[in-house]
Subunit: 364 residues, 5 copies
């Protein structure tokens, strides 16, 4: 969960998640995310080239029969707060305790691990929309076995609907290929969703650039700073992806077929593209505060010029008026017939000289 | 498409292109660039050492006969908005769906991919002239087979005319060598055209440096910022080229003969040269805003000095005048014969002391 | 020992520790930390799957019998100032002189060294709490043999209590596995404790960000600087950890079993996570001073505006009043019936024009 | 050609050189440097351990007899504008067209290329002296064959006189060793000449540092900027040298004997030393503008203090004088016997309080 | 020789040393350091496990008998200005001319070179004390043969006394081990002495930090800059050490025994520690100027506030006084009984409003 202008509670929480586990033996299953009340929702999609079966199950045990079938089975778990569900699935599918621990620690750095009997992928799903003040992130874990994919999400709602549709309608290659292709499809869906997020962020950057040029104000530096912080967080979520996808692509695991591997190269290209974009965004933001400061300096300069012109123009004139306001008995000028007019003339000359000087200095 | 001072619509679009594809199965052919109305233009140049044949074809099918001939065939497609054309060519030349998808996604990062039966190169062509406010970029895809080269461009108009002339006139090595040399020639033409763009950018930088020294004004920081952003974009288009050309040069594909490989090393050198130049430009631009800020500071300093000199000179004098403007009944000075003259004397002395002080401080 | 606002004595000391050893032959045992008066405390925990024995011993010699037993023996030494204790243990367990020297030089850079017969790990334990003004660090050395672990700490008090509890209660894997798993557990406990420290540091950063936005004052830059310095020190303590854990994980030593190695990969992930967090913190802090400077500039701007408004408004009016304060005999206006009212009218008009101008300039 | 304060024409030209070749087939020989009128000058030095022969030839053909002799032949060409000369030499010595093209493109990045039958080295010779406003660079190409070295320079005048003298006088190893040692000697002479240039640049930096401390003025930032730009260019000329010399040193070409290889390691060390120096210079220059800005800030501060002291001292006093300049009929103070003296007393007290305040603030 | 506030003559000299050798054939022996008048001092320590012999010799020839003895011989040469001494030793011990050249070029970058028959190490010895205004450096060359070590220093006075004592007293391992251990001991002594220098530098940094917080003044930026420059130079002397020691440690030379190799790993650790410290120092210094600038800004702000308060308070009051100083015949207020008191009341009200406003703005 990133904050954009909002209070930066989340980062504190991310580290806190870890620190509240301190002291427990490794492999202990503790959910470190926010506690939630709704029930965990488990959905199963089982398919091969001929048929598709889709159902939402009430108990973990209903998943077990699918374990041994030759068809591809995708078990998706929304909600991680019920540790027993994860535990039972872990036992049924023979998952390593450290893997389960990672599924539940919802502040994982994206990574790929090869557990020989299955592959483990953990990464972040980003949500960002007009209704959201800040980017929200959610941890997604994928476990890829010979003929099954388990996916774990923190909350209901994801970017996998397109994949589900394709499975249901038998569109694309997904029905013909195995579990590895399904995993690739899910990974691809997540990576593709990053482009939408980056598009929104790009808009924010452009709005800020516009504001910088059109109407910089006192809150601008704060906004630049929070955008910068957001980029720091975004980058931290996405950089490790490069290594993840590359590891998967170069993996010698027998769980990944050669035909899927070529698709992973494609995902890798997208990841590089996303990282490039983030770096460009960072570069763009990095110079913004300097532009702001130069605009503040310019305004200060303008203010100073007005002050200087007015003061420089009238202070000498006021002095002249002050001189003839003195009460000496013997001030011959005061008695001259055209003394008053002469003083005005002097004052106008002085002022004119000043104005010419200012014009030469380009202050007017 | 880069913007130089213009509105940064294009970047948003670049990401947008991607995001509108989200959810489609991989390999789905969707053109992500700007929709265009004109028809797709296909031109064929077929040649060997003895003869040249050049024609513009109306339908994709006319290309197919050239597939099997032993002569070198260059099929150039201007315009990507008619997906069916790409699809038919793809089938005819047995191209991988992911390759076709990349041809149509016009925000690709430059890359080289070896599909065994053919090589795939995607990079950007830059246009920048006196009539253009900003650098415009266009995606060019090259597919190199054993005896054919397919090139795809977004728009009519390219930098390949020199290559065409050489083929027509039988100048240079191009007619004697194979499809790989043709591909090299096209690549070389694109890379060479970058030098012209960099030359223009170099002129912009120098103009800005001149302005910085001669006449910095309030729009200068904005201009520096937009130049900087342009360099960020340019760099992003060109950096991956290094890897591309190197990959091609080191490729073990049988499609590239050894004699062509030595020419690719030359293109690689040019690429390094271009990247060096871009980095130098970035370095030059990076210090500009500081120079601007120091000039703003200097001007502010000058303004402050004028204000200080005038105020410091006249405020004490005005005070003296004020004193003798008081209406006390018992002010002996007012009645002195030379009181008025004495006051003038005092004021002149005070002013002189001030002026000496300012001169010592080097404010005058 | 890091200082956070406190006087930076410690760093000087860290280097001093080294420099006071200069000239002694390598392998000479000199304790380079702060001298302490309390006695060295040695505690032994000896266990296998069936039994646990725990005792605090008075003399070093009591440790020796455990050397040869097949059970896992953990000898923990609190306090390094009694060199003879270290020396005797060194002889008894056949430790290399350079290793012992490193145990006693309490400003070691974290590192892992393979001495074939045993593994040597040295790293830093961090303490940071509400009662501490700054992060305090302490050197911890671990020596891992075939069936023993020696741990050396500078002071009583550590983060190993969870591990002790698990051994006592037979919880987790620790009782079933060997000395390498114990070493892993200790390493894991230290690395986990870093998360708590980072959490506190994260809070400090957020407090400072709050202050920066709400109420920046003259001490803010100093605080930013000291936080920055703290991050420099923290980073220096933790960066080498990456190499350490990686070295251990990839080590081909027979002292580390394959089942423990997978747990070390987990520690490695945590280390990367911590380093990522530190880098993010650094990035966040790096921009803070610029935000502060922009806020100072803004305030200066505001001050200047008030001055300019007041001065610009009243200086011309005062001039007008000064003109009619002159004592010329022939000043027709002074005799007019409505001269006084007219002057007021002029002054109000002038002031109004000024105010309109200020409003246009958005200074009001 | 670098500019130091002078107009940056040269860089533009460097890129321009490339761009004017755009469209020509690769290997086309076009001289891209400045056109010159004088004739190309070719000098031959032919030697072995016993004899030396030195002559300046009128036509290219006179070089050919030396091609086959077993003695070492050094053919030096000053001036590249007569393409036919280069072309004939190229044919006679069987040089690759791309190599010849590189000799003539005088904006090459320094590089080393192994053409099997001969080695190709291209790098830049720097000239910088008290009589030159800026560093001038010239491209030097060396072609090393089994018993000949061809060297091409843009202009007459080089740093090879020491080498010539050594050959003439039979001093050093040069006469005993082969063409590879001659090539090394030339390379070494060029690299050694860089030290002299760096020495001059170092003096410029020190002069600027002096100025910064002693008498910073408005042109200082501009000078810093142009020095910085010069370093960017210098670095660009010299960085690739590292790779060049390393490539040569590690080359497996039979043209380089083992005994020469050890000397190349020495040149490599010098190159690293030069690069180190350039990096240090860059580091030194990078902080200069900040020092300048802080000095500007300090001066501004000093100016502000003077203004504030004068204004703060006299504005209240002027107010007091103004009060008693009012013309109210009922102002009892005006009639007091010691009213005038009392006002003076009040004013002196007020001024004294101000002065004490300023002294406390350390403004005086 | 580094300068800390002193004039930067030395750097210029360092490059100059090189440039004065330009044109001489490689391997020519020229001393490039400062010329000195005292005689070169040669001392020999010859030892094995049983005996030690130590003597100062008058002529180079006295060293030769020790060449062939099986005992370890350490020949130390203080002073390099007598080239013939170096030349004779070079011949006697069969040293490569390039090696001798490097010994005499006293601006060498630290490096390690394997000449098969002997190893060559060149590095810098640093001197820094309370009596020295700046760090002084001196080049030390070590040549390690099968049973001898030659060490060359520029001046009398070194950090090797501890090593000499250990040899004399037979303490430590040095007497039992061979020439490689002696070389290690010398290397270790030099690296250890760096810690003392870093400690002093650390003190300087802390003093500057104190000053920055307590009493920043106009010379502070200059001091920061010179400290920064010193770090640049220090870094340049020490960075290459890493490679040097690593090269030595990983060297496959038979001159280094395995037991010494483990000690070299220890030196490597120290080198990394030193480099870490230098990097931390650089990080600390890098932010200092910003802190200084923020403090200057703050002071400027304070000055501005005082000016603004005084001016804003009195300018309107002076205006009011000015109005009633006008000499119009018809000014009814002037005749009112309580006109004068009313004006005072108005002025007090105006001033009070101002003061409340200032207090709200927190300027008071």
């Amino acid at each position: 969960m990133f904050d954009m202008g909002a209070k930066p509670k989340s980062r504190r929480k991310a580290v806190a998640r870890r620190s509240k586990k301190a002291g427990l033996p490794p492999g202990t299953l503790v959910y470190t995310g926010e506690q939630q009340v709704e029930a965990v929702r488990i959905t199963i999609i089982d398919y091969d080239e001929q048929h598709v079966q889709e159902k939402q199950v009430a108990s973990t045990e209903e998943c077990f029969p699918f374990r041994e079938t030759p068809t591809v089975t995708w078990i998706n778990v929304d909600g991680l707060h019920d540790v027993s569900v994860i535990e039972k699935l872990g036992k049924a599918f023979d998952l390593h305790p450290l893997l389960l621990e990672d599924v539940l620690s919802t502040a994982q750095r994206p990574k790929f691990e090869d557990y020989e009997k299955h592959l483990f992928i953990v990464l972040r799903m980003l949500h960002f929309g007009d209704d959201l003040p800040a980017i929200e992130t959610e941890q997604v874990s994928l476990i890829v076995g010979p003929n099954f994919v388990l996916s774990f999400q923190e909350r209901v709602g994801d970017v996998f609907d397109f994949v589900r549709d394709r499975i249901r309608n038998g569109k694309g290659r997904v029905r013909r290929f195995g579990a590895d292709y399904l995993a690739y499809s899910l990974l691809d869906a997540i990576v593709d969703s990053y482009f939408a997020v980056l598009e929104k962020v790009g808009e924010k950057i452009e709005d800020l650039e516009e504001e910088l040029v059109r109407d910089p104000n006192q809150t601008t530096p704060r906004r630049i700073h929070s955008l910068k912080r957001e980029m720091i967080n975004l980058r931290r979520s996405i950089w490790p992806l490069r290594e993840l996808v590359n590891g998967l692509h170069r993996s010698e695991s027998t769980l990944i077929t050669k035909s899927t591997s070529i698709y992973l190269r494609d995902v890798y290209d997208h990841t590089i593209h996303i990282i490039d974009t983030i770096e460009s965004f960072r570069d763009m933001i990095s110079g913004m505060l300097d532009i702001y400061l130069s605009s503040v300096s310019n305004r200060m300069n303008a203010v100073m010029k007005v002050l200087t012109i007015i003061a420089t123009l009238f202070i000498p004139l006021t002095f002249i008026a002050g001189v003839y306001g003195m009460n000496f008995e013997h001030m011959p000028e005061l008695r001259w017939r055209y003394g008053y007019a002469a003083v005005w003339a002097v004052m106008i000359v002085v002022a004119s000289i000043m104005l010419v000087y200012f014009r030469r200095k380009r202050w007017l």
